[in-house]
Amino acid sequence: MNEDAGPIFRQVAAEIENAIVDGSLAEEAQAPSSNELAAFHRINPATAAKGLNELVSDGVLYKRRGVGMFVATGAREQLLKRRRSEFADQYVRPLMTEAQKLGIPARDIAAMIDEWEGQ
């Protein structure tokens, strides 16, 4: 985990979310345990558990007593929806900030995107 990237539990949660979004962690599959995450990322198990618990409270994971945590059905769709809503803020805003600095008008950017699509 990256020491310069804010709270580690959020990074853990984000990584599991990524795995769910890209399909490497399927719905109803078992998520890694906090001890497995702790060992793999060399982080405190309590921190890993906090990341998992956040996903549980978001409804992305659910607990099966004595077995572990599993990916909820519909989790992928839920995450995709959230990420789409955050897309503008996370990706378009920095793009536009940089573009303004460089004096690239929005229509030129739109053209670049069209060009990209065409490749």
Partner: protein, 312 residues
Amino acid sequence: MATGTTTAAVTVHDVTMRYREHTALDAVTTSFEKDAITGLLGRNGAGKTTLMQLVSGHRVPTSGSIRVFGSSPYEHDAVLRDICFIKEGQRYPDHFRISDALTAAAVLFPNWDADLAASLMRDFDLPAKRNIKKLSRGMTSAVGIVIGLASRAPLTVFDEPYLGLDAVARQLFYDRLLADYAESPRTVVLSTHLIEEIAPLLERVLLIDRGRVLLDADTESLRDSAVTVTGPTDKVQAFARRHELLHAESLGGHMRAVVRMGEAQGHRAAGAAGLSVEPTSLQQLIVAMSLQTSTERASRPLAPAASLEEVS
């Protein structure tokens, strides 16, 4: 673990420790949470070792009280047997081999795990029959680590356990500590200067500076408690004036400032001010806070630049 009932394994109440010429700890009140890994941070001479000696019953405070699992540790065998203090520069009898030290530790620690000791000996490549006095600094540290982990003491205290260890051996220590801690959770206190390396292992941080507590919090909320803002000097200064500034450096017309605020809030506020915002790592935060107090003491306007990156 973040929620629910957490009890303290160690409580330190209003403890002052005075030596002949100086005060090592000044009215310190804190606690070490049960079954958590706490990092004890601070500059050289801050009072870390004194605090660990007090908690381990090696010293008696000038005033105040220390409670470990509910009782004073000083000369109290029932409490002491549950404490393992691996101190820097532990002395061993002259003719002792590593195996002798382990034999003694096995006699004295009720939860001693001989299998774990044997596997750690292999991991660190320690020669059991070698005289301890003849070991290198790093190997001697490794002996301490083996004893500290295999003791499985409910309270295990490590005073800079990595001295002389190379990067590989340190990584091994962190891995084995985490693995064994996950298997049998216990209260671990680690003093260190290698903040960057150890930070991910810590659940809590206690920062002391010249005998006083500067910071006593859980690491995750600390990681979310300050942001580093960069941009044109005038803009950054204007921004910093409106918030709690910990540390600032400038280069030309450009300034970098560590400001106390959460990441989300930081992104909103500084983003609106047209500044770029990054999370502040634990190490940067600790350094900024330590420098802040020392500059306050010296009443200098700003800490010397360059020292921000220079630690450990």
